[in-house]
């Protein structure tokens, strides 16, 4: 609630000056509050982006491990079947099936690590980079919010000082009026 009205004109220039200072400080306080609100909104937005990127990184790790492990599991089973089948053949020598199992299994094993690099590691690194960028934006917004908050507190302190000076001036005027009446 702004107790000072534009429509009132003051005979005392000091009172008018105090009025102008208070209006200016109130306007600045509103501006600081808006800057603080904007910084907080940007902070929230950056935090949401960072958390989303971290979730994407987690999904990449799980997906990459699934594919890597799946290829290794399938390849190992095929290779193992081919090797054991070869070992138990009484007549010796390999067959097309056993050779295919061994070859296919080895190929699948060889693909396991590159598959993780493609589906897991690369997206994870990209997501973590996005998370870092969002974290940086959050830090900048946090600094802006701190600055706006400090500015607002300084403005409020100035308002308090101005009101204090105004009270002293009004008291002085009152005492002067009493003195005049007493000596009249």
């Amino acid at each position: 609630m702004d107790p000072v009205s534009h429509s009132r004109s003051f005979a005392d220039p000091m009172l008018e000056l105090a009025t102008l200072l208070l209006e200016n400080d109130h306007a600045r306080e509103r501006s600081d509050a808006e800057a603080l609100a904007r910084a907080r909104v940007e902070q929230q937005r950056a935090m949401n982006d960072a958390v989303e990127a971290l979730h994407d990184a987690a999904d990449s790790v799980a997906t990459g491990a699934l594919l890597q492990g799946g290829f290794a599991l399938a390849g190992g089973v095929a290779s193992s079947a081919g090797a054991v089948g070869l070992a138990v053949r009484a007549e010796g020598g390999t067959t097309p099936l056993l050779a295919g199992l061994s070859t296919g299994g080895n190929a699948a094993n060889a693909l396991a690590q590159p598959m993780y690099a493609l589906v897991g590691e690369a997206p994870r690194l990209e997501a973590e980079a996005d998370a870092k960028a969002a974290e940086h934006r959050r830090t900048l917004s946090s600094w802006a919010a701190d600055d706006a908050s400090d500015d607002r507190e300084r403005t409020r302190s100035r308002i308090d000082q101005t009101l204090g000076a105004l009270e002293n001036t009004l008291e002085a005027h009152h005492q002067a009026n009493i003195a005049v009446l007493s000596n009249f």
Partner: protein, 263 residues
């Protein structure tokens, strides 16, 4: 009046009691006094609203703290599970597969018939030593037996190279089967490990969000406490000014009456 200390201690803040405004019948009817009374009531309402905001912010802060603790607990549990399965994966893809591979390679060398018996004997001795080391390291006893048997067979073969080729070939195949089987088990363990690693990272991301909410609600609580403090301080100022105005009016009236009475 330091109202920010409860934010650090986590305790609920309490507000000091304030005196009620002077009754309207005690005041004169001029505009300034009426305006000051309205301001005083406004400050009181603002203090009530800010106090309500303090309570809301405190509740939200407590909820955010609990969410953070739960997220960190979930992350810790998932991390422990991932570590367990990671150990299994490392054991099967590391020691077991490597030793089985060593056996397979050595037996293949013997089976090719391209090396002297001395080399085969050295490989056999190395595999026997490896089996003892593997047993001491706590590997699966069956795996150790495979390696030990392969070492013993290699030792026998060293004494009869011509008959060694067929048997060494079978040993190599079995060892390759063991190696491939170990790698497949490692792959399976890797899938489970990856699942738990993903859960751990998801929980940590949730923890980041909860930590941000905790810090944000802590700031809201500080802001609400400042508003309460400010509203009370301004109400005190308005009350003081109102009292001064009433006193000034009284003194002025007395001075005028005294002056009139003196004439």
């Amino acid at each position: 009046m330091n109202m920010l200390a409860p934010v650090m201690s986590g305790a609920s803040p309490t507000l000091p009691e304030t005196d009620p405004p002077p009754a309207e019948s005690e005041l004169s009817s001029d505009v300034a006094t009426a305006l000051l009374v309205a301001m005083l009531r406004s400050r009181g309402t603002q203090a009530d609203i800010a106090q309500n905001d303090v309570e809301i912010a405190q509740e939200r802060l407590d909820v955010a703290r609990a969410k953070l603790e739960r997220a960190l607990e979930r992350a810790r549990e998932a991390g422990e599970s991932a570590g367990f399965w990671g150990g299994i994966k490392a054991a099967f893809s590391g020691d077991v597969a490597a030793l089985a591979g060593l056996v397979a390679s050595a037996a293949a060398v013997v089976a090719s018939g391209g090396t002297a018996a001395a080399v085969a004997a050295a490989v056999a001795a190395g595999m026997s030593v490896g089996a003892r080391i593997a047993e001491e390291a706590g590997l699966d006893p069956t795996t150790c037996q495979v390696i030990a048997v392969a070492g013993a067979v290699g030792g026998l073969l060293a004494g009869n190279p011509e008959a060694a080729i067929g048997t060494a070939s079978r040993v190599a195949s079995v060892a390759r089967g063991v190696q491939a089987g170990s790698l497949s088990l490692a792959g399976g363990a890797g899938v489970v490990e990856g699942h738990y690693r993903g859960r751990e990272l998801h929980a940590r991301a949730a923890g980041e969000r909860a930590a941000f909410e905790r810090d944000s609600f802590a700031l809201d609580l500080e802001e609400a406490l400042r508003r309460v403090e400010r509203a009370i301080r301004e109400a005190e100022r308005v009350r003081s000014t109102l009292g001064e105005v009433v006193r000034s009016h009284g003194e002025l009236e007395l001075a005028v009456i005294s002056r009139i009475g003196a004439t």
